[in-house]
Assembly symmetry: C2
Homo-oligomer: 357 residues x 2
Amino acid sequence: MKKNILVIPGDGIGQEVTIWGKKVLEKIGQKYGHEFSFDEAIMGHVAIEATGNPLPDETLEKAKSSDAILFGAIGHAKYDNDPSAKVRPEQGLLKIRKELGLYANLRPILLFDELLDASSLKPEVLKGTDILFFRELTGDVYFGEKNRSEDNNFASDLMNYNRYEVERIARKAYEAARTRSKKLCSVDKANVLETSRLWREVVQEIATEYPDVETEHMFIDNAAMQLVKNPKKFDVVLTANLFGDILTDEASQIAGSMGMLASASIGDGTGFFEPIHGSAHDIAGQNKANPLASILSVALMLDISFGLQDEAKEVTGAVAATLKAGWRTGDIANLNTPADKILGTQEMGAKVLEFIK
Amino acid sequence: MKKNILVIPGDGIGQEVTIWGKKVLEKIGQKYGHEFSFDEAIMGHVAIEATGNPLPDETLEKAKSSDAILFGAIGHAKYDNDPSAKVRPEQGLLKIRKELGLYANLRPILLFDELLDASSLKPEVLKGTDILFFRELTGDVYFGEKNRSEDNNFASDLMNYNRYEVERIARKAYEAARTRSKKLCSVDKANVLETSRLWREVVQEIATEYPDVETEHMFIDNAAMQLVKNPKKFDVVLTANLFGDILTDEASQIAGSMGMLASASIGDGTGFFEPIHGSAHDIAGQNKANPLASILSVALMLDISFGLQDEAKEVTGAVAATLKAGWRTGDIANLNTPADKILGTQEMGAKVLEFIK
Ligand SMILES: CC(C)[C@H](C(=O)O)[C@@H](O)C(=O)O
Ligand SMILES: CC(C)[C@H](C(=O)O)[C@@H](O)C(=O)O
């Protein structure tokens, strides 16, 4: 198989971790005889510094013509502390999601048994948890009209959904539920929001097309609570952009660390694969970041964009083997981890490569 | 002291638990020589059934002329499953919040040592946690304009804030932070939302009035994660209506159960006190609900609305003593709780009364 992959390292630790996602792709390519070629592009803070634009046209063009995109992270504290900045790194990410039509963000909460202890949740609460989030990614209050009054005394963002936007992601989530344990939980705030009431109506309709899947509707506040109380009760979770942003970060604690979670954004064209962690400038450039989320994002790319299931399993297996052998980055180590088992980004990445024979 | 308290039991388990909040007030009144008089009113589903209106005028008038309000819970599954219902129980609660100007919702996450084991979080993660949420309660996407297109293909809710709305709740939160460990964390989504950027700007300004308080700004997704990972790092948390709704429900797992959390809504006039749990129709009328959140809401009323700190401490102390003696309702029991220590709503309420000598 011949594939052309665009690597966008982005900001902060995105730079360090993406290297390892790419190396894994190269090794898988060699082993299975695929021709993976790579190009690179800039986005986010680094792109603002270089061009003034968080998503340069060149990056967008390369993205559109590639077969899949491996992305790192976005953001910089400079903008976080300056709410009045007009140009911001995140605009690059939001724009590429919109331009590529990446309306479905899949975030699997993959729990490696070896990391049961790394979580703040009790092992008996966690054990057996396996959740797949479908977060809507190109609508909601993220993309609605924004306003700021002249006198700076008022600001607004329009939360909104069109029926077709809910339908298409709902169908994707139901299709996935069919291949899993046939349970889908749709999360909204229909007791308060009109947007959520439309969301719930549409999901109720689509549910009739999938009578074999059991549907539950849950309010976001309750879902945020249940996810901590009893994560095992969830299988496929379908939710809007903002609620999905919140719930999936919260759920990262199930997997022990943000540093473990990968995501796939898919839709109309090229697929986009990225860790759910951020740019983490506090540890950037220190060889401390966990490369596993980037590597697991590559597994999702192989599976979802290229249909290469065996290759995807090999990557996930190599990560599992690395953990089983006791290797940890700082974020997933605990008090019982021997000091010589705690590795930096590069050493951890290299270990995973070793397990791809 | 002479006080006139309006009791609004509301829906579902609101009916059962509020009785015990009231009984505690009566007993405290007797013991300390206060004249507490009570009136009752309807709101929510029960009010719709009786009058067609989730907040009858009579209830609102009684509320405005009372010295404090003890509320139970609101909601009914009938409406949850019917997104197109025009009249809904929750409208009653939202309207009374707005009409009484209850812009600040205080939700203390009070962790009783006896309940360390009732949580899904590890005891060592929890121990020492003490968080006070300030949730804005009369603005945000809750009260912005709602729209639904004629053809039902589009829905929207306007998320919005005025500067003064952020200022007044921020000041309340900073004042509280001064009396505690002088740390305040403001939660928003300023990397995406204009509303959040205004929020952050205003909080940055107000922060300059409180140089003795250390301010941190955090994105909501990160906050939802940190709350599970390391709840101890939070002290006063200041946030908008929607984010506060989500975070406080999530935080209920720190206290072991939703059934333990009380809240105070304050602002321009009469204070409003309620458990943060919902109507829980699945267990309503079965003598299973935990009355402690209602009783702890009474402690907040005594403290905040009446300035009766000793009386408030007596109530909290009675709850602590009840737990220390081993008594539990089902929601806060665990596998090690002896069966004869698990009580129903009435028996649990009666135990607390016994501890007010
Ligand atoms: C960086 C930010 C704009 C982004 C989001 O909110 O979508 C991130 O938190 C994510 O979840 O991918
Ligand atoms: C019942 C509902 C409208 C309410 C809210 O969302 O504010 C509840 O969840 C709460 O937190 O008090």
